[in-house]
């Protein structure tokens, strides 16, 4: 097992990297396992020699122990490192006024029982557990003192809870992390601006560009960017609608330099002539609507020919396009022509 390249170590992980390739001859057949074992033994020996030589051995009780160095191979963490907590309102105030915390003794002298009692926890002198309460001079004699104490305690607890929640919300606002809004994961977007932006992006990421998304409280819905389909209202002025339709047809007409597809007509005519073969079936100069069946054309049994189907669908299309009666007539007149190739 000639090692041409010396192995490298990462003692923090008890790792040995041996960059030498395995001997291809030894890795075949039954010799594989003994060969691998031999290679492993060499590696283990090198690693242990390295450990014994490099690391200082200490004695802890009855075991020989060596301190491991930190690992040199970079490995990812499990979670991001903790962010420092921003100080609470009280902590800020205390810092400004340089108020320091006084460490309180755990035991407090309890006058009533005449002994030392813990300040908190088990065995403390709890006023709520008192069997007797003095009515203070300033208080209403009919007032329930026990109830008053309970109420005050509840208020104190509620106030403390409120302060705690306020601090949390402040922390979140200033530098805390909100749940990730992007599928890409990670990325702390905490400011309200970023949140608004994320909302806008999320809304316009659907087919209707957020038109029908529920409005979030306090959200100002502006102009919807990227609206793809504009639908006019169904009700409204009829003349306006008519005008729009006419405009469409005008544009169509203007675009059509040759209302009759000359080439196509000629080809079809020729086909017809070839198929029929006699003058009786010669097409007269008039171009008929495409619904006309050509004679002599052998179609499939019972069914329409493919070309006939195509023609039918085209005629259906033309029918659809003609919205009003006038449009229809106009279409017909467009398709008609006195002679082939002559424009109307």
């Amino acid at each position: 097992l000639a090692t041409s390249v010396p192995p490298t170590f990462d003692l923090g992980l008890l790792l040995i990297n041996n960059p030498n390739p395995l001997d291809p001859a030894s890795t075949r057949g039954p010799e594989l396992e003994p060969y691998l074992a031999a290679v492993a033994r060499e590696n283990a020996q090198s690693l242990l020699s390295e450990i014994w030589q490099r690391l200082p051995a200490e004695r802890v009780e009855d075991a020989v122990v060596a301190p491991l160095p930190p690992p040199s191979t970079p490995l990812p963490r499990e979670k991001p490192p903790p962010k420092p907590k921003p100080p609470s309102r009280w902590e800020e105030f205390a810092r400004l006024k340089s108020i320091r915390r006084n460490k309180k003794e755990q035991a407090v002298w309890d006058e009533a029982t005449g002994e030392w009692r813990p300040r908190w926890g088990y065995g403390r002198a709890d006023p709520s557990k008192e069997w007797l309460l003095e009515v203070p001079a300033s208080a209403d004699p009919n007032e329930d003192q026990f109830g008053r104490l309970k109420k005050e305690k509840k208020e104190r607890v509620a106030k403390n809870e409120l302060q705690r929640l306020k601090n949390i919300s402040r922390n979140m606002r200033l530098g805390g992390t909100l749940p990730a809004l992007s599928a890409g994961g990670g990325g702390a977007t905490s400011s309200s601006k970023e949140l608004k932006r994320a909302l806008v992006v999320a809304k316009r990421s659907d087919a209707s560009v957020g038109q029908f998304s529920a409005k979030v409280g306090g959200e100002k819905v502006g102009h919807l960017q990227g609206r793809r389909r504009h639908f006019l209202p169904n009700t409204g002025s009829l003349t306006a609608e008519r005008g729009i339709q006419e405009q469409v047809l005008k544009e169509l007409a203007a675009r059509r330099t040759d209302p009759l597809n000359t080439e196509r007509a000629v080809n079809r005519l020729q086909q017809q002539r070839e198929q029929s073969g006699d003058a009786a079936n010669a097409v007269d100069g008039r171009r008929r609507p495409q619904k006309k069946k050509t004679a002599g054309k052998v179609s499939t049994e019972g069914g329409k020919s493919r070309r006939q189907n195509a023609r039918d669908s085209k005629s259906r299309k033309y029918k659809k396009a003609a919205a009003s009666g006038r449009a229809n007539q106009k279409m017909k007149s467009l398709m008609k022509s006195k002679t082939l190739g002559k424009r109307k």
């Binding site: 960059p19 014994w52 490995l75």
Partner: protein
């Protein structure tokens, strides 16, 4: 932090559980979540169980079958990782197209970092090797044989993942006699051969012991199929270490009061001064009048041995 959450834990156990899960400077040992897919063959199911044995106690095996496809929809794994606080996972499945499939992966902040799919070949379970196994929780030695682990980018990623998976607990000190386990990964003909050995340290002529290996299993080869590796930016973010590791505050002790003095408060209970146990000074024991006896002589000192002699006599 538990204090950052709106809901406060109600029990001490709950508080400890939350504290365990929170982000820390020095993290816990990574736990591995082992998941069985919709269909598993006997081999791959057994392989997963062996992996669980290797990774105990930092592993969790899900009992039920989960017909998911990690490479298509990873959300299930992410959800489970968040539930059980595991940042490594192993997913085993078997199908005609991908027989004996093993997906090893890891997560950062409960989101997928990278995962690699292997085909397990030539598997022999732990139980078939008659060698005694290492104790649970032993930190293994890792050995990577082959130049490709340092040159080929995919194999470098695989090596990093395998390191993370098998490194065991992070320790500051290691008992030298406790180095008992070696896992060897060798690259050969497109396969990563995984062999696991028990180390026996025998005395040699020098201070450094001689190593003897006994294969304790499991034994398998991994053939790379698909992979989804983290981008360098994601990896960089995942590796970001905290700048300064906070010094653990020891209660009651001020390490330095500014003048180099280490101060602390010693809590002594209530003392009854006349019943204190001090060092025995015999001169202070007797009352002073003894010295000036009626006859002016010193009172004879009695030794303990005298008492014994008297006892024996009597």
């Amino acid at each position: 932090m538990a204090s950052n959450s709106v809901i406060k834990p109600k029990t001490q156990a709950g508080k400890r559980a939350l504290a365990r899960r929170e982000e820390k400077v020095i993290e816990n040992t990574k736990s591995c979540l082992l998941i069985r897919g919709g269909n598993t063959s006997e081999a791959i199911g057994s392989c997963l169980k062996d992996l669980y044995s290797l990774k105990k106690p930092h592993a969790l095996m899900l009992k039920r079958r989960n017909p998911i496809l990690p490479f298509e929809e990873i959300s299930f794994v992410e959800k489970m990782s968040r539930k059980y606080d595991c940042s490594l996972f192993a997913f085993a499945s078997h199908s005609k197209k991908r027989p004996n499939n093993l997906v090893l992966g890891r997560l950062f902040n409960y989101q997928l970092l990278d995962m690699i799919e292997f085909g397990v070949e030539g598997y022999q379970p732990l139980c078939t090797f008659p060698v005694a196994k290492v104790p649970v929780g032993t930190k293994p030695c890792l050995s990577f044989q082959g130049e490709e682990f340092d040159s080929d980018p995919t194999l470098m990623a695989i090596k990093n993942l395998l390191l993370d998976m098998f490194q065991g607990p992070r320790v500051e000190k290691i008992r030298l006699q406790g180095i008992e386990h070696l896992i060897q990964f060798s690259y050969c003909d497109g396969q990563i051969l995984v062999r696991s050995y028990r180390i026996l340290l025998k005395s040699s002529g020098s201070k450094i012991p001689r190593v003897e290996l006994f294969e304790m299993g499991p034994r398998f080869g991994l053939r790379l199929r698909r992979h989804k590796v983290a981008t360098p930016e994601q990896f960089k973010q995942a590796r970001r270490q905290p700048k300064v590791a906070t010094i653990k505050k020891i209660k009651n002790i001020v390490p330095d009061d500014g003048l180099g003095n280490r101060l602390g408060r010693v809590h002594v209970g209530r003392q009854e001064l006349d019943k204190l146990q001090t060092r025995k000074v015999k001169a202070l024991k007797r009352p002073r009048e003894d010295f000036n006896a009626a006859d002016g002589k010193k009172i004879k000192k009695r030794r303990l041995s005298d008492n014994k002699k008297q006892k024996n006599k009597g």
